[in-house]
């Protein structure tokens, strides 16, 4: 079984700061991590490989330094890594990103067939949840998003059964390989790599592909030019005309009492609603 896992290197959100004057994001010196949602997909892929044999290839698109995230993934247990990097990719929105990644996966498939693609449910920086479905749609695979559990895989029949979270419950779905899966967060726990994995990761060859090397011929479909969406402006939210009014009082009891008066004064109907409710209507 050959599984490709798409990951993204993202700045560690806990350490992001915004420049107070220019309103731009200060990324310099901020450590990077593998997008946390991707780790649930990586772990699930590694489990399937362990159960059925085969290999896991991690794939990322990003600047040259995104190689770090691939080495981390190799250190956790992935077998092979491809970095897609080119200045033509700069400024890609979800459509251009899924185009580049899907083309690279097709390139991988030329030498090794791919049975499954995993992607993160969403990223912590872009947060769109659209790249996985975009890749899947371009590859003509079956789409399984928000998967809670991979129930069974039958490599001979090329069938998979998963539990997929939907709004009011869980769908149990059966489909054929190849398919694309995004895992729901909290569904598994990413493993620690073995010593062997770490040594291997440090020495491994990460394949570095330019757009051309990945088989992309039409550069107008990449990066800014291949992105139908345009960011028109970036701005800070307006404060409301009035800031929050602090209630007066000495000590917790007095403050609480004053707050309750203020709440019911501004929301008179709320008090009667709460009363009805607490009286058990």
């Amino acid at each position: 079984m050959h599984i490709v896992v798409c990951i993204k290197q993202v700045p560690d959100s806990a350490q992001i700061r915004v420049h107070p004057v220019t309103n731009t994001i200060m990324r310099q010196g901020v450590p990077t991590i593998i997008n946390p949602y991707d780790l649930f997909s990586l772990e699930e892929a590694l489990r399937l490989r362990d159960a059925f044999g085969g290999k896991v290839t991690v794939l990322t698109m990003g600047p040259p330094m995104a190689e770090d995230s691939l080495r981390k993934a190799l250190g956790i247990g992935a077998d092979d890594a491809v970095l897609l990097t080119d200045r033509f990719f700069a400024g890609s929105d979800t459509l251009a990103t899924s185009f580049a990644l899907a083309t690279a996966i097709q390139k991988i498939m030329e030498t090794e067939p791919v049975d499954m693609v995993f992607a993160g449910k969403q990223t912590i920086d872009g947060d769109t949840a659209q790249v996985g479905p975009g890749i899947c749609c371009r590859l003509g695979m079956q789409q399984l998003t928000y998967v809670q559990k991979v129930e069974s895989v039958d490599p001979a029949k090329r069938e998979i059964v998963v539990h997929r979270r939907s709004e009011g419950g869980v769908q149990v779905l059966k489909t054929s390989l190849p398919c694309m899966i995004t895992m729901l967060e909290g569904t598994n726990q990413i493993r620690y790599g073995t010593m062997d994995d770490m040594f291997r990761a440090a020495r491994a060859d990460v394949r570095v592909w330019s757009a051309a090397a990945a088989g992309i011929e039409d550069m107008t479909r990449c990066g800014l030019r291949g992105s139908p969406t345009v960011v028109k402006k970036v701005f800070a939210p307006k404060a409301r005309a009035q800031k929050a009014r602090p209630v007066d009082g000495e000590g917790a009891e007095a403050l609480a009492a004053a707050a309750i008066e203020a709440i019911f004064a501004s929301q008179p109907k709320l008090e009667s609603d709460l009363l009805k409710q607490s009286a058990g209507y």
Binding site: R27, G169, S176, V230, A244, P246
Partner: protein
């Protein structure tokens, strides 16, 4: 310091030059999310918002209903008129009974290619996000996910605003030269519009799906419904009490739950609490959690980062409990108690308990 919005802003001055093939794309569409016989309320919220966009553009508002041949599907059509749609595009087919990506993507892309809307809105639910990604890719158009505000600009384009990475900024995104302009919006971000009373009617365009069950590779084996009795009804609660990192340690979260209980409220928290495992992920409030619109929101020890703010701004009244009078939450809360949440929360719980029980006896 690097200016990360640079490459994008180099195109910010770009003007609309709509290619010939998109000139006739007109009208605003809302996908009416019908699952297991019920319409997700986000669809009505989006019809309310879509109405405003359509009126501004001087075009029609349409609901797109897909479902099995059943009374519930017809009810969704009627509901669409009730919440403001002029027209409904209806695809009725047994294949559309349960959500599956393949038939729904085909249904939506066929409709778009035939009837050519300029704007298509979907709820950012698990279903809506699953569908929007493949529809936008198939149509090769732009999609702005999880918008918090929609408007029409001077050129008649959709201006979709969403929070951007970094904690305190918003960005406005346009799909200049592609149609339809697609956006997803999370439940509760837009207000629920008034439903029209009495008889309602409108245009109805019925379109066949032209697909056979054998064409659909994914099969549904089972559906395990959630146990709704103990499921968090956070998004639709009237009163919500939440805690943040200011609570200091997980044990203190009980103070939030106690207050919620007295108020018959739902409880929730900021994202770091979910990441630390203090609360379940379906209790997270904010951009990547639930958006809420309660009558009263009490936030204790929450600083008010933009990702939190966009999830709570629709509340009628926000009370912030914070030791820091300059915390960002003061910019959008209405009332504040400047103080230690660990003493204020129990005091509020006690005071509400007395107030609500005393009055009950009197009444």
């Amino acid at each position: 310091m690097s200016a990360d919005n640079k490459p994008a802003s180099s195109r910010a001055g770009m003007k609309k030059q709509l290619p010939e093939k998109f000139i006739n794309y007109k009208h605003v569409w809302v996908f009416v999310e019908l699952e297991r016989g019920e319409v997700h309320p986000v669809s009505w919220e989006l019809l309310g918002e879509g109405r405003k966009l359509a009126d501004k553009l001087g075009v029609q508002l349409a609901g797109v209903v897909m479902g099995p041949p059943a009374a519930t599907t017809r009810a969704a059509v009627e509901g669409s008129y009730r919440y403001g749609a002029d027209t409904v595009y209806l695809m009725e087919d047994p294949l559309l009974t349960d959500y599956r990506n393949e038939p729904f993507t085909k249904a939506m892309t066929d409709l778009v290619n035939t009837y050519q809307p300029e704007i298509l809105l979907l709820g950012a639910t698990t279903l809506g996000r699953d569908l929007a990604g493949s529809v936008a890719t198939t149509l090769a158009t732009g999609l702005t996910a999880d918008c918090t505000e929609l408007a029409i600009d001077d050129e008649g384009s959709l201006a979709a605003t969403r929070p951007t990475f970094g904690g305190s900024l918003l960005c406005t995104i346009h799909t200049l030269n592609f149609r339809p302009q697609m956006a997803t919006i999370r439940p509760r971000v837009m207000a629920m519009p008034e439903a029209k009373d009495g008889e309602v009617s409108g245009g109805l365009i019925e379109v066949p799906l032209n697909m056979k069950e054998d064409d659909v590779i994914t099969k549904i084996l089972d559906f395990i419904a959630d146990n709704t009795t103990n499921k968090a009804q956070l998004a639709y609660a009237d009163v919500v009490v939440a805690g943040g990192m200011g609570l200091g340690k997980p044990e203190n979260f009980k103070l939030v739950k106690d207050l919620a209980e007295v108020l018959g409220a739902e409880y929730g928290g900021s994202r770091p609490l979910v990441q630390k495992g203090w609360i379940d992920s379906d209790r997270q409030i904010g951009q990547t959690g639930k958006t809420i619109r309660p009558k009263l929101y009490i936030a204790a020890g929450i600083s008010g980062a933009i990702q939190h703010r966009v999830g709570v701004e629709g509340a009628d009244l926000i009370l912030a409990i914070n030791t820091d009078p300059n915390a960002p939450i003061m910019d959008f809360a209405h009332l504040a108690i400047i103080g230690d949440a660990m003493t204020i929360l129990p005091a509020l719980t006690e005071a509400f308990r007395k107030r609500l029980s005393v009055n009950r006896m009197a009444g």
